[in-house]
């Protein structure tokens, strides 16, 4: 493993938005000026105490931060190993970590004087968080969502409509998250003068991976302080699910230079990595270029992007944030996969033992935790990012269990 020093962290990404060989700004020329404008605005505001105060106040009074760090004692005892703590992002306003980022980007939109926001969404959590912040700021909001996900996540679709957003079903390609992102890019290129694109994860062209990481890093900063206060030490391991990777980077980032903290990013194993029916580019993909950045992708030998498969719409994406690609190559984070079956089992287990119903995305992290905890000692600590709540997935879970609601 290569050590991630604080100096290396401070220099990453570089001025071109690169994390090692990954990241960058692979977009059509029409968008370059808007990205450069966003980059320079963010460079200024990220060092501006007034902006940081505005962001922190929104996190405290609108999102409800800090989110608790909760010790899952019954589940820990059941697994018989490490003490497991949940970082309760599910308790945030709108029910997931996504809102940390939308609050931050909406502030940027406000500073740029943009009145119209667009967003892509898979599970609908980022769409809901974007629609929420748009309602609060009186902005017009259009959310692009793959047609298949519109059916899978009908509850969130209705939530977005109630909030005044227009949900645009995307019928091109595989009709899932990646196609929603293509369509959002097409809208942005057409309406770039008056529109702010709120990207929901740590992927996309620079500066998005950096600014989304910064907005989500509040998760790890809080978890670090809470862990020290509650256990008297840093955690031994961090676990988070990885689709695009924003909740994972949010938890991991403030610990990257702490050598003793092991980190596990859990990708969607779908029907199992061996079947090819999954959404695990870091575990089973190769580097390429998609959606404005160079990163690990699920692709064929001709560079065509492959169909992905996951029980959770939010992880059903063939790429991943470029910082994760870099951390994988550096050996700093271990990327693993949990398949649909063990994910569903973890969903039920945590719901029944802790009274906390996780999102199916989050349940991937829990499934890996169930494998990891028994290999560790009783004096060791795992912090799992409980990135979202599972209400939105009840219909999916019922269907998988063969129950008609």
């Amino acid at each position: 493993m290569n050590q991630i020093t604080t100096d290396l962290l401070a220099a990453t990404p570089d001025d071109a938005g690169r994390f090692g060989d990954y990241g960058g700004r692979y977009v059509s020329e029409t968008l370059i000026a808007a990205l450069e404008e966003l980059d320079s605005l963010y460079n200024r505001l990220s060092r501006d105490p007034d902006f940081q105060r505005e962001f922190d106040e929104d996190l405290a009074h609108y999102v409800g931060r800090p989110s608790p760090l909760y010790e899952a004692k019954r589940w820990s005892d059941m697994l018989g190993g490490a003490r497991i703590f949940f970082k309760r992002e599910d308790l945030n306003h709108t029910g997931a970590h996504k809102v940390n980022n939308t609050v931050g980007q909406a502030l940027l939109a406000k500073h740029m004087g943009k009145k119209r926001i667009i967003a892509e969404t898979g599970a609908g959590q980022h769409g809901v968080a974007s629609a929420t912040i748009a309602a609060r700021l009186g902005m017009e909001c259009h959310v692009f969502m793959g047609e298949e996900d519109v059916h899978r996540q009908s509850l969130n679709v209705y939530r977005m409509k109630l909030l005044g957003a227009e949900v645009v079903p995307v019928t091109s390609g595989t009709r899932t998250l990646k196609d929603a992102m293509n369509e959002a890019m097409r809208d942005w290129v057409t309406n770039v003068d008056n529109t702010f694109y709120i990207i929901g994860t740590v992927a996309g062209p620079a500066p998005y991976p950096r600014l989304v990481r910064d907005f989500q890093s509040v998760i790890g900063r809080e978890a670090r302080a809470q862990s020290l206060a509650m256990t008297g030490k840093l955690p031994d391991a961090l676990v988070a699910c990885v689709g695009g990777g924003s909740n994972a980077i949010g938890l991991f980032y403030p610990f990257l230079s702490d050598e003793g903290v092991a980190m596990y990013g859990v990708e969607a194993g779908g029907d199992g990595l061996a079947t090819g029916r999954h959404a695990a580019p870091l575990s089973a993909g190769t580097p390429g270029v998609l959606h404005g950045n160079k990163t690990y992708l699920m692709q064929d030998e001709d560079g065509q992007i492959l169909h992905t498969h996951s029980v959770s719409a939010g992880l059903d994406y063939p790429g991943v944030g470029p910082e994760h690609a870099w951390l994988k190559d550096m050996g700093r984070v271990e990327y693993v996969a949990a398949d649909d079956t063990e994910t569903l089992a973890a969903f039920h287990e945590v719901t029944r033992t802790e009274g906390i119903m996780p999102a199916l995305e989050t349940a991937h992290a829990l499934a890996y935790t169930a494998r990891l905890a028994p290999t560790m000692g009783r004096d060791q600590v795992i912090v799992v990012n409980l990135s979202g709540r599972g209400d939105k997935d009840i219909n999916t879970v019922a269907r998988l269990d063969g129950i008609e609601l």
Binding site: R25, Y26, S28, T30, I32, S172, L290
Partner: protein, 290 residues
């Protein structure tokens, strides 16, 4: 690489000498049928095309409007990939060694093939240039090194949003010609602003001697004519892709589709020629050519 001017430079020089503007049709390789593209390229040349722009099908064509997206999907369904597009170029070259051909596509298939292998294969196939929509100058250094090694041009886009200092940066790395995107939007959009095109073409000419072609909003003889007043070439894509898709969907055979495509191209040729020579009549190049 050879110091001889490539087919693109040669073609634009010939056109300038006769006071004409380039007509550049865009087609998706393998659309609407896997075996139609090479006959189509020949037919378009007969109907007045000066340069052929061959689209490489990609699963995520982010800069394309619905018409060309569907063209990419149809071609992918038929199994057409980057190597098939290169094979089409090689087959085209068996009968036509003069008409420049450029590939237009997205970064990932080229990244997947590897820049060196792409440059070698493309050069051996007789390709002249590559336009990669999502590889702006900042990301292109490694690719350009390989393209230069095999004498291939790299065509860059300039957009309505590109500020002057960036136009300079782009023209420093561009070869062949500069492709001006005539509108903020995706291919096939309907809001062409001719005055803005005129201003931007003039801006580009402040920084480069390279020819300037314009594309993205041109659908018929009339819009082609308006753009041709300022540009050195016009690209027509969506209108052609749509026409052929409609004919194919209506059950037309290959001959009928080729005929329809040739008629549209001839129409655009006439539109472009209706204005271009007028501008050049008093020009030194035109007189020299006469």
């Amino acid at each position: 690489m050879s110091d001889q001017p490539g087919r693109i430079a040669k073609r634009f020089a010939e056109l300038a000498a006769s006071g004409r503007k380039a007509v550049i049709p865009y087609l998706v390789a393998g659309d609407p049928a896997a075996d139609i593209s090479v006959p189509l390229m020949h037919r378009l040349v007969q109907a007045g095309a000066d340069i052929i722009e061959l689209g490489v099908p990609f699963s995520d064509p982010m800069a394309e409007g619905p018409t060309i997206q569907r063209g990419h999907e149809r071609a992918l369904d038929k199994g057409i990939r980057l190597r098939d597009a290169l094979a089409m170029v090689a087959e085209f070259r068996e009968q036509d060694n003069d008409t420049p051909v450029l590939l237009m596509g997205y970064a990932n298939p080229v990244v997947g093939m590897g820049f060196a292998r792409f440059a070698d294969s493309a050069s051996e196939a007789g390709l002249d240039a590559l336009l990669t929509v999502d590889m702006p100058p900042e990301e292109v250094e490694a690719l350009n090194t390989e393209l230069k090694r095999r004498g291939l041009d790299n065509i860059f886009l300039v957009a309505p949003t590109t500020p002057p200092e960036r136009v300079e940066k782009i023209t420093e790395v561009a070869t062949g010609f500069v492709y001006y995107v005539s509108l903020k939007g995706v291919t096939g959009a309907g809001h062409l602003d001719v005055d803005s095109v005129s201003e931007h073409v003039a801006l580009i000419r402040r920084y480069t001697q390279l020819p300037v072609a314009v594309g993205f909003g041109i659908k018929d003889a009339e819009s082609a004519a308006r753009v041709a007043r300022d540009a050195d070439g016009v690209v027509v894509g969506s209108a052609l892709v749509q026409l052929m898709a409609d004919r194919a969907a209506a059950g037309a055979g290959q001959d009928e589709i080729l005929e329809a495509a040739a008629r549209l191209l001839a129409d655009i040729r006439a539109g472009v020629d209706s204005v271009a020579p007028l501008e050049a009549v008093g020009g030194a190049e035109r007189q020299a050519a006469d």
